[in-house]
């Protein structure tokens, strides 16, 4: 099933369809991405394993979370990731202006995520909920805030990329830096895609 997600759509433009030995962007960013995924993976595994002995507690407090806000957050991050892909494709076609607009849209969607999540955290603080409230909130707040910090870093990266596009730093044949930043942002999206159902729905 997973292979099919790529295999089925295994077509693209001439440059991008060229089989590559290394993933897009700098190799260093991919090592960083793997390290980040390992950490988030441990978080998710710990959450799931701890839930085994606390099913009622987890299910009860899961209902107190704002699932609608999480939906909008997921839609915002997926949209942001999509706009980043479009920005990379635009640079690949030497359309600098279009790439700049797509990157601004990606930035805007990321800011929407931050605004909703900040409001959610503020609501929890108002309710007196902290890491020590119970085991569920300990995991939820840790994972959500750790991810939130990654989004904050990602927004800085997107802002730098947008500025670089505006200044014409990337060309049709040289946009390695853009691909590195894009890959990091997709990782942030990927982690949220797992976090959303695991913590808010399951």
């Amino acid at each position: 099933m997973l292979y099919a997600t790529g295999f089925f759509f295994n077509i693209g433009n001439e440059k991008l369809t060229k089989v590559m030995k290394y993933p897009p962007g700098d190799l260093a960013i991919w090592i960083f991405i793997m390290a980040e995924l390992l950490v988030f993976g441990l978080f998710f595994a710990s959450y799931a394993v701890t839930r085994i002995d606390n099913i009622e507690l987890f299910e009860f407090y899961q209902q107190s979370l704002d699932r609608r806000a999480a939906l909008w957050n997921t839609l915002a991050l997926i949209s942001s990731s999509y706009f980043v892909v479009q920005a990379v494709l635009a640079i690949n076609r030497a359309r600098q202006q279009q790439a700049f607009i797509f990157m601004l849209l990606a930035l805007l969607m990321g800011l929407v995520f931050m605004a909703i999540k900040t409001q959610e955290f503020a609501h929890h603080i108002d309710q007196g909920i902290t890491l020590s409230t119970n085991t569920f909130y300990m995991f939820y707040l840790s994972m959500a805030f750790f991810h939130y910090l990654h989004v904050a870093l990602g927004l800085i990266v997107l802002a730098v990329l947008a500025n670089n596009i505006r200044k014409g730093c990337y060309s049709q044949h040289d946009y390695n830096g853009l691909e590195s930043g894009a890959s990091y942002w997709h990782m942030v999206d990927l982690v949220w895609i797992i976090l959303f159902p695991l913590v808010y729905v399951m």
Partner: protein, 87 residues
């Protein structure tokens, strides 16, 4: 395949991701908690993760060892979650 088709495919993937996200939310809203539903929801998430890896991260164009780490991460995560959620 042309650049235009690449853009179309990305947009198609985006639409599928949005659709699956809304479906996940609707499943959560039914309040019908069961093991099967939980596993269905997580299977959807893993599929979405695969699409991010293959379509957005462009890993489908990579040949060799770098093609697999994220898909392996998703598979390992699935095994852990499945084991933890099944009695």
């Amino acid at each position: 395949m042309s650049t235009k088709n690449q853009t179309t495919l990305t947009t198609l993937s985006y639409a599928v991701l949005i659709g699956l996200t809304v479906a996940t939310y609707q499943i959560g809203e039914t309040q019908a908690h069961s093991l099967d539903i939980s596993l269905l929801v997580f299977a959807i998430a893993i599929f979405k993760g695969g699409m991010i890896s293959e379509q957005f991260m462009q890993l489908r164009f990579v040949k060799g060892i770098w093609r697999w780490p994220i898909l392996i991460w998703l598979i390992l995560l699935s095994i852990v979650i499945y084991t933890a959620f099944t009695p």
